[in-house]
Symmetry: C2
Subunit: 492 residues, 2 copies
């Protein structure tokens, strides 16, 4: 195979980058830190969108669209939020180019077309949305507002990696408005459950649900709930966040409503989002040294059929059966590609679809036709077996479910294996360096201790797990009393 | 009804703006020229996207995603294209804000975070895409590339109108690469047919298919094909364009491929797009002084059921039957809303759903229950009749098809009525002023004449219709010989 990958053992980071590019998922672009999402990678995103969008609508949300740009005066209205994103904003200052008088055929920014007020390319949309909600909300009858937006956002990151951290990325951002604190908190938790459901049951990636420490909280939130996943290299990846924003944005944008008792109250808010970063999590959870491994529920192609034949006559014979199988599988709602290109040999195709993580491969040879059999290969275990064509649709359907479950169970077992409870800072550091993974340790609850631990070990508190065991102990760093262990890890 | 609309007769333009805002489709935002698309308006766009996306995929296209920003040096590479969009570009010049030392809590652009090269917010993506295709294309085996993108674009328009012309809008842009000129032209025409099919059969808006004159061509295209629709006020609206780009972008970005005979050739290109502007066309084609009229195939809510009752007990009785009807209709794939809110009276609800253009309204009263009947009202004709609940699902299903057909036929009849053939410039001007609509007239084929006519009458050549009748004549303006009549109109 010409598209040789670096192995994970050799260089995990290089393996990841190689894989993203060689499996045709995405590529770097001419714009610093921005990626091109190629059709195969975008196909995964479309499947993610479809599943998530249905979940959002099933929980009563509607989609809408708000402007890409945020006037600076609105951007700075919620101070903590503004401070959190100010250092990584793309800023529009002009609205016209003109021909360069000194350089034929070239353009320059027209200095006469300077904007009176600069526009920030949205890094997140709370500011523009809450400024809009102000005119949507007068009375309790206008609440709740349950709105989601599918959009691109820009955060000027200095060190970027395809899917994981890019200057522009695609995401969805839910922004809801509620009459009461209780209702807003219930919404925040509901969306966390939706994300956990999606990541575990569609992506086959197990997660830990929890709440962030103050240091790791979204800028402008009172509480940030999150789901944390563990990659194959033992590093954590934040897969989704759901924020309880309190009345911070309502106060910044003066959004009040009249209650049933005719009083004026500030509105309560939540926001929640997942992004194309999930594709990075998907890749790093399941893939191997041969390439991508995709969970069947999100694979753009679930089954590929490869013919093995000699000559046009051979191909015609094999194709007849292949197309019958394709139809049967499609009737079960399975997405199938029959690759009958004569420009590539079967061995090349096998390697190609392995690299691209197609869950099931069916090979049909001329000899198989006489026996009424085909060869079925699984991408997850790299095993294959000869099976009867009779009943192939049911067999493949079951196999796809089995692969989906197997991927989740493997990842779940890895998470369990890579979760450690420690009692001292020495042990903590040793586990981080030698075993990696999630490390549960007592912490005194102060931002200062968290900061020190981060500086010294590069580990952060990923979350305080929901329904965490309450137990007296002492902080591994300060020795001060602690009421529970929190979950640390080095993270993407 | 509190949401009184301006009538079309009184002020067509104000009627349109009122309608967009009062029917909850979209609203102005805090950002100059940018709109907020509200959930009800976005629901129409989602239905449009779903239908178009399937058509694109059925014709072999895949979706992908390219960066929002275009470095200035790439933007200016195709000179005509650059020149065409240079005067209306949002330009990013900085990537960081900092706290204002003179103004606590405020932010200013950090002068030290100036970009080395300015970034243009895409007004269209040919430049960034063809710079990318350069690395995707080596041999004839890599062709064709059939890619589409759903995205936001920004054109700094000075005079904006909701949906019709906004600084930011949502659209799809297809960008294809081909080995031969013939194949690229066939693709251009195929996508024009796809657009015509969508606009006529989903939006119920009849169109004229044609090709643009040189003056009206897309900047960077060799030929622009278009579909032109006619609004109720007799003005034309360009509903979609499909461009044959020749080798212009391949040459600007040096994109060549090796042919089967091992020669180097430049690649041939097309691009094609439709945008949220279509929602404006939809509104102005069918709606009336009572509000929106939506074609059933794109209506977010196809049927609304309104209960008429006294007291909780009455509502409970009516709701039982209403919910049964709702289920039956949903089983036919019809989207139904049962509005049992007790905060509004039936008359208010009737007006509200009329304003929002819901195609069919079913009212159920307590008296109806005894008779086994309901009242069914059509939005398009504003007529109503009492029908039996027995077989209501089939009746409504047929009625939705009838409404869809009726809207198209009404618009088609209007187009026919408002299409005039003229023989002199006097007649031309008289028709434009008094009758309006599409005006067919002989033209000498020169940009100069076209420009003069535009200056004097505000009418432009909307297109040279495909399969146009060839007939000798003289130009209505210059008196020079002409071989065919072209289609003029005043346009949005």
């Amino acid at each position: 195979m010409s598209k040789e990958l670096t192995s994970r053992g050799e260089d995990y980071s290089k393996w990841y980058n190689d894989l993203v590019v060689k499996a045709d998922l995405a590529d770097h672009s001419a714009v610093r830190g921005c990626m091109v999402i190629k059709p195969y990678g975008y196909g995964i995103w479309e499947n993610m969108q479809k599943a998530l969008d249905k979940m959002f609508k099933d929980t009563g949300h509607q989609n809408a669209y708000f402007p890409l740009f945020i006037p600076k005066s609105l951007f700075e209205a919620e101070e903590k939020n503004a401070e959190g994103f100010a250092k990584e904003c793309a800023i529009v200052t002009h609205y016209r180019l003109k021909t360069d008088p000194n350089n034929k055929g070239k353009l320059i920014v027209d200095p006469e077309a300077k904007l009176e007020e600069e526009l920030i390319v949205r890094p997140t949309s709370e500011a523009i949305i809450w400024n809009t909600y102000k005119s949507w909300i007068q009375s309790y009858r206008d609440l709740p507002i349950l709105v989601n937006q599918w959009a691109n956002v820009v955060r000027w990151e200095m060190r970027t990696r395809l899917f994981l951290r890019t200057a522009e990325f695609l995401w969805q951002e839910g922004h809801t408005a509620h009459a009461t604190k209780e209702e807003a908190i219930a919404e925040t938790k509901q969306m966390l459950e939706v994300y956990a459901d999606f990541v575990e049951n569609w992506m086959a990636v197990p997660v830990v649900k929890g709440v962030k420490s103050a240091n790791e909280r979204f800028a402008g939130a009172d509480d940030t709930y999150c789901i944390e996943a563990l990659m194959q290299d033992g590093k954590a990846l934040q897969a989704g966040t759901s924020h309880f924003l309190g009345q911070n944005f309502a106060k910044a944008f003066d959004v009040k409503y009249v209650t049933k008792d005719n009083k004026q109250e500030y509105v309560w808010a939540t926001s929640w989002g997942v992004s194309t970063r999930l594709i990075g999590a998907l890749i790093m959870s399941h893939s191997d040294d041969n390439g991508l491994v995709l969970p069947p529920k999100l694979a753009p192609i679930q089954v590929v059929i490869v013919p093995i034949y000699k000559g046009d006559e051979g191909l015609a014979k094999v194709s007849e059966t292949a197309n019958e199988i394709k139809k049967k599988l499609q009737a079960k709602g399975i997405s199938v590609k029959y690759d009958d290109r004569d420009s590539q040999r079967p061995g090349w195709k096998f390697a190609e679809y392995e690299l691209k993580g197609v869950p099931v491969r069916i090979a049909i040879g001329e000899r198989d036709l006489a026996n009424g059999t085909v060869e079925v290969a699984r991408r997850d275990t790299l095993t294959k077996e000869t099976v009867s064509i009779e009943g192939i649709d049911t067999l493949v359907d079951n196999l796809l479910n089995e692969i989906q479950a197997n991927l989740f169970n493997k990842a779940k077992a890895r998470n369990t294996e890579l979760t450690t409870t420690v009692n001292s800072y020495e042990e903590f550091k040793k586990v981080l360096d030698e075993k990696t993974g999630f490390v549960y340790a007592h912490w005194d609850g102060t931002p200062e201790t968290e900061e020190k631990i981060k500086e010294e070990t590069k580990a952060t508190i990923r979350c305080i797990p929901l329904n965490n065991l309450q137990e007296a102990g002492v902080c591994i760093y300060s020795g001060k009393p602690s009421t529970q262990r929190v979950m640390f890890a080095r993270a993407y």
